[in-house]
Symmetry: none
Subunit: 217 residues, 4 copies
Amino acid sequence: MSKQVAKVQVKPQAKTEEKKRQILLVALQCFTEHGISGTTIEMIREASNMSVGSLYHHFGNKDKIAAAVFIQGMREFGDLLREYLAEIAPQKKLTAVEKAELGVKAVVYANVDWIGSNPEWARFVFHHRSIIATAGSEAKLAGDMQSFYKLLIAWFKPYAGQEIFRPIPIELISSLITGPCHDYARHWLAGRYKTPLFQHREEFAIAAWNAVKASNP
Amino acid sequence: MSKQVAKVQVKPQAKTEEKKRQILLVALQCFTEHGISGTTIEMIREASNMSVGSLYHHFGNKDKIAAAVFIQGMREFGDLLREYLAEIAPQKKLTAVEKAELGVKAVVYANVDWIGSNPEWARFVFHHRSIIATAGSEAKLAGDMQSFYKLLIAWFKPYAGQEIFRPIPIELISSLITGPCHDYARHWLAGRYKTPLFQHREEFAIAAWNAVKASNP
Amino acid sequence: MSKQVAKVQVKPQAKTEEKKRQILLVALQCFTEHGISGTTIEMIREASNMSVGSLYHHFGNKDKIAAAVFIQGMREFGDLLREYLAEIAPQKKLTAVEKAELGVKAVVYANVDWIGSNPEWARFVFHHRSIIATAGSEAKLAGDMQSFYKLLIAWFKPYAGQEIFRPIPIELISSLITGPCHDYARHWLAGRYKTPLFQHREEFAIAAWNAVKASNP
Amino acid sequence: MSKQVAKVQVKPQAKTEEKKRQILLVALQCFTEHGISGTTIEMIREASNMSVGSLYHHFGNKDKIAAAVFIQGMREFGDLLREYLAEIAPQKKLTAVEKAELGVKAVVYANVDWIGSNPEWARFVFHHRSIIATAGSEAKLAGDMQSFYKLLIAWFKPYAGQEIFRPIPIELISSLITGPCHDYARHWLAGRYKTPLFQHREEFAIAAWNAVKASNP
DNA sequence: AATGAATGAGTGTTCATTCAT
DNA sequence: GATGAATGAACACTCATTCAT
């Protein structure tokens, strides 16, 4: 009996977290279907089987719900990217160039795979970077974003300045690597292209590498 | 005398058209600053010095104003692209490969230049392709879009299947060529990157050509 | 040639009257379908192929259009009623009671027949007596109404106070005679009853006479 | 203690219902004064001391407010009619004919009395039968109406086919009985007749019975 | 923590009416 | 007389947010 009590009293926190995650998912679907400003609290309330009061109690306001959705997605994508890059590091027999190529392609793969398997999160995250500003760049959010960029910078730093990459302004790199697949993804998510993103996975990877590698070797 | 009559009959229409164009510009600025759904009719009314009634008299409703803005931008961009491509055709001394490269780069240049000099139109046009569907794909709009795509297809058709391009699925081409610069532009327009798009003009062009050209020649 | 000129210059008045009548008919249809306040000037404009300006030029404003429709209908019904009553007067061989009965029934017949053959006018006229007040009881309207009531009063006066009718307060007479058929008509016009009004013509007439005749003949 | 709990749980609902009824009354007054479409939500809001939001929270929209007013009135009238008819049934010493006469007159009395003491409800209910259709004939409304008609049919069924009534098409009965008093009431409510409806109570009853009774007995 | 009634500023849109041409 | 662009007050309705229970 004491166990049961314990369960009942300890789990609540977990239960609450679980509930929040559920709400975020529901909110994402609403945002996907109607856009952020087209989504009303009432829609989220109905779809999540909560009361308006609860929603506000847990999230504060509508903008913060959107921000929470963004953070959740961002974090999940970051996890996948980290995982993909981590697989390369240990392969010590590769040359620096080969590693760099694998790294660039890993970034593309992570994007393609995540977008392909989480299209709604992807659309939201990649279309609403600006939420950061709007939502007041609260510590939480800014932190998540920064750690994400640090991850990328840290990984590629060793390969900079070694004639492995074309001498490209650093600002361009992200766009050159992920631009095409994001662009395609946008059209695909909007239903304008039919072939699944995943099918062009290798093409995007090759094109990305071609776009940034040093031309001469 | 006949000329005067002509004047009298032609001007009114011109005046009306002029006014509409003016309103569209004002609306664009509002949409840019507040987003489409964040823009109220009242904002457009105040900025354009019209009455609500007139706005509705001429455009029907808010969605149709947005659609009209889209069309106007699309058309202007189409004009620039057409112009750029037209400059290549006559240079008869070039090989097919050289021409194809110039063509690909011309597309990039047109994008970079137009986005650079019409950032607001650009942001609007490239972020709201979906308006077409929403606004009921009226003949006018659909027509403009189709003629735009036809232009591109017509220009590049002669170079297809000649080992000039990598054997890429046709759907990918647009994303590979313009994806990076659109991606960068999005960040730049959002203020996340500071260097003007134009400064990377050549980089985008080169990267685009590298991404689609046949690798072996 | 002078005749032609005359034609061209004299007819316009007739033409204008014709046009007005046409517009009134169109307006009636709009009012029938959408109610008076549900009908917009724009509807009347479109259905009548006129310009807004012309409508206002000829009628003044929306209320006056409604009033004009009312007057037109009232007048046409009055004409029919007068006609029906006139047929009885000459039959000199009838007793006063027989004449009174025919008179009462003539009123019912006039109502039934006119409602049956002009359901839209009827609905409008019998449902919008109050227009008189709203529209400012302009001389024109008031005049038409008064002449209508005078007609009835004049016809029945000779039969009053002769033990032909039950001693009923005069205010009641109209309701006792035409109430049932108007009530039925309202339901029928609203589609709640299916049998055409006309089919019950005689029933209404008999019931009316029974309701007002002296009981001990 | 249990009683207290009951109190706590029952009162809120009652309070809400009470409020709704109050609003309906206010709405009726507005509708009476300005007509349904002439009444604005703002009028109802001001007169009821509520907020726009609350009005919509409770009723959904303007049409549904009107429908609710209709239902409320209909139900109250139905209650009175039922009561009047119930008083006759037990008087076992009467012949069928006498009972029928009392029944017909009871219907007239119920109409006269209710219209006389609730002129606003009456005007609204008898002039807006068509609301049923407009408001989507929700189960609630349709139910109320049906039970109302069933009541009448059930009461008079026993007297049908016994030579008590003239052989009148069934559709006509309602109009013959209540038509005159409704017609008079309409004029009276519009201020065209001054004598109160009630004063002609007996006249309407007699006329109704004369209009439907078999002529020969 | 949970609920949902209450709030009211704000929104898109309509429409009778005016008036310059 | 005829036209239709222009006007702006009004309207029905929405929705984020608050708060008493």
